[in-house]
Structures are given as structure tokens and as C-alpha cells.
């Protein structure tokens, strides 16, 4: 179980590195799709069918959108001439990652190990399943206990849709 997850995660990391370094934008996007669908398999292994379904739908929409964007353009990755400035940027980002590693250590310390999670937060939600009448606990949390969160999510989605339509309709000066 843990091994299977680790293998898929390893493939996802390789695909992510390829997506960042690919010469052709279309292959970069396909590699990104590999990462997204690998995430679906990870969710299924982690016993989370709801987010797996949502992730399939979202990943497909994102991929279609990205392919539409890229096929409309030159597709070629910019010629990357290796100059001193780029080395400086790479060095700075590695430094930034080391700082992040420190924070990761601080975050990971109070967590339970993988697979040994205690349900201290979710006990009330699990007990409330009888009151909500929802067979699916995730749906119970989303639509009953945290209904306002879901409302906010819908608001964000509509705001984004309005933003996309507005930006597309702008004529602008060329």
C-alpha cells in the first residue's frame, strides 16, 4: 500500500520535472496531465473516491483548456540561452527551497505518522452522520456542517467565470 503510493509519487515527480524542462509546450502539458491523473490513482489508494472523481473532471477540463491555449500559439519553448543571470536565479531558488525545508520540518513535527491518524477532529462529524442522514460522510460535511464553505466555493467559481468572460470580451488597444 505505502510502496504503491511511493512508486506512483515517484513517477509523478519525474513527470513534473519533465513538464518543467520540456522543449515543446504540448508535451509539457501532457506531462502535467500525467501528474494530475497520477494524483487520481493516489486518491483512490487513499480511500477518497469523492476527490478522485472531482479531480478527474477538473484535470480533464484544465487539460482541454491548456491544449486549446497552446495549439493557438507558437508552441515552441523559448530559446533558453544559459547566462549568468539564470545561474543566479537558480541559486537563489535553491536557497529559497532550503528555507522552505526548515518550515516543512516544523510543520511535519506535530503530525501523526502516515496511516496512524487519530480522528480527534472528525469524531463529531462522524457521530453527526445519524442526524444529517447522509450515507457519504464527505457529502455530509460539505453540504450540512460546512454548507457556507460550499456556498463560498460556488461564489469563487462564479466570480472566476465572470472574470474569464470579461477578460475575453475586452477589446484593448493593440
Amino acid at each position: 500500500m505505502e510502496l504503491m503510493l511511493a512508486v506512483i509519487l515517484g513517477f509523478m515527480i519525474i513527470a513534473a520535472i519533465y513538464a518543467i524542462h520540456a522543449k515543446d509546450l504540448l508535451s509539457a502539458i501532457i506531462a502535467q496531465g500525467f501528474v494530475g491523473y497520477g494524483l487520481v490513482i493516489c486518491f483512490l489508494l487513499l480511500r477518497a473516491p469523492d476527490i478522485a472523481l472531482v479531480q478527474i473532471v477538473v484535470e480533464t477540463i484544465t487539460l482541454i483548456f491548456m491544449v486549446a491555449v497552446v495549439l493557438d500559439s507558437t508552441r515552441k519553448e523559448l530559446d533558453v540561452q544559459v547566462d549568468r543571470k539564470q545561474y543566479r536565479i537558480a541559486g537563489l531558488s535553491v536557497l529559497f527551497m532550503l528555507v522552505l525545508l526548515f518550515y516543512f520540518n516544523r510543520i511535519i513535527a506535530p503530525l501523526d505518522g502516515f496511516g496512524e491518524h487519530s480522528m480527534r477532529m472528525a469524531e463529531a462529524y462522524a457521530e453527526g452522520a445519524g442526524q444529517t442522514g447522509a450515507i457519504n460522510l464527505v457529502a455530509g460535511v460539505l453540504w450540512d456542517f460546512r454548507g457556507y464553505d460550499t456556498l463560498g466555493e460556488a461564489v469563487v467559481l462564479f466570480a472566476a467565470a465572470i472574470g474569464v468572460v470579461t477578460i475575453f470580451r475586452l477589446t484593448g488597444k493593440n
Binding site: V69, V138, L157
Partner: protein, 113 residues
Amino acid sequence: MTLFIMCFLLFLTGIYGVLTRRNLIKVVISLTIMEFSLFLMLAMIGYISGGEAPILAGTIIPAAPVVDPLPQAMVLTAIVIALATNAMLLTIAIRLYKKYGTFDIREINELKG
């Protein structure tokens, strides 16, 4: 613990892409990869060994322990919001491409105004 560290490696890959790439589409891809690693991290935190999906079939009290439904619900919300932000980013990238004819951030900076 190994899995958490691998998740963090995926996150670092995304951060490296955001910081070093000059192509707008590559930056969007890197941001998406960062989001993926965060979703996976949250889903992993809620996992219990030998647990079942948090769906109670028939009886109220299941035989095996169920995994934590709370992180899953939060991740569900986060995925949809990530879709919204991605759509916005890509739309802005299309507009910039139509105006300047390139995805290169440096050239867009030079042609400003």
C-alpha cells in the same frame, strides 16, 4: 514519513519551475503541480491504515475504521477553487499572447506601455 517527504519534493519541483521558468504556460503548469502536491499532502494526513472510504453503507457504525472525512471535504473545495484560479491565469496568458505575440515574460516586460 517517506511519503510526506516525496510530497514535499513534488512541491519543491513546482516552486523551482515558478521561480526559474520564463514561459507563462510553464509557470501555470508549475503552479498546478504545487497545488497537486498540497492536495495529496492533505489527503495523506487523513489516511488511516486499513481504513475504508468514509461511506456508511446500511449500518451507522461500520465494521472497519473509516478514514478522516474532514480533510477530504476541504480538499474537494480546494480542487474546485484551483480550477477557477487556473482558468483565470490561462485567460490572462491568452490575452497577453494576443497583445504581444509571445509567452516570454522578459519580452512582455520590455514591450510594456
